[in-house]
Symmetry: C2
Subunit: 149 residues, 2 copies
């Protein structure tokens, strides 16, 4: 791989202190239903790995469809995770933009060859993700999403 | 207005120190052409206003189409501006998500009624924008875009 296999932003990730409160505010401002607050990285699919070590850190999430892009609100629960690190070091704010990939391992290796290291990876019932720290090169964290189907 | 008139994210804004360098990195990682670096708020359409006062602050920008969403890279030039403030206080990172509105003044008033203040507004050859600080409520700055046509 010598470039990512998608240029389409599919998700924007936002770290918040209180996902219930933030989700209510989004619903009110945009006039859309407040979604259910759901556990993130809280099941047998998670296998969260942070900086090369297993982590039991979790999150509470809310997902909004804002046109073609999904907005993911994440309240960190426990530590260590890229979500908890972001909240602790930068405060609330936009954490990542996400892209689908058909080849997660190859994409991670390609990015590592550019000095962009995977700081966290894991899975959910349906796929796997990698959070890649591109702060120095691209000014933000990118998230790579691989869907099983 | 009792809710925003669009729920579609049309742009993601990213603040960078060096837009030439960042634009080159995006082009390389995504395998897409590097766009021209263009002046932002640097013409007679700008009329930039920051916290209620005229400002001569500008920016240098690069625009990428990442699927249905435009990625705007902004290197702040001069001060004061929301771009310069963000870089100074938070460093490089994702600054805003943007939504189109047909009624910019009404949208600003609606958001102000929710405690979300316009920190900067201005225009370009084709429209007007407002940067609304929703950090406390929505965890980020929203940008409202009104296109003349």
């Amino acid at each position: 791989m010598d470039q990512l296999d998608s240029t389409t932003v599919v998700q924007i990730g936002l770290i918040v202190k209180d996902v219930e409160k933030a989700a209510s505010a989004y619903a009110e401002v945009f006039g859309i239903p407040k979604p259910a607050i759901v556990p993130i990285a809280d099941d047998s699919f998670a296998n969260t790995n942070y900086h090369g070590q297993p982590s039991t850190a979790k999150g509470k999430g809310a997902f909004f469809d804002l046109g073609p892009v999904q907005m993911e609100l994440i309240e960190p629960v426990g530590a260590p995770s890229t979500w908890e690190e972001f909240l602790r070091t930068r405060g609330e704010g936009l954490h990542h933009i996400a892209f689908k990939t058909m080849q997660l391992e190859e994409a991670r290796e390609f990015m590592a060859s550019k000095g962009m290291e995977t700081v966290q990876y894991g899975g959910w019932d349906g796929g796997q993700y990698a959070s890649v720290d591109c702060s120095k090169q691209l000014g933000t964290i990118l998230e790579l999403l691989h869907f099983d189907k």
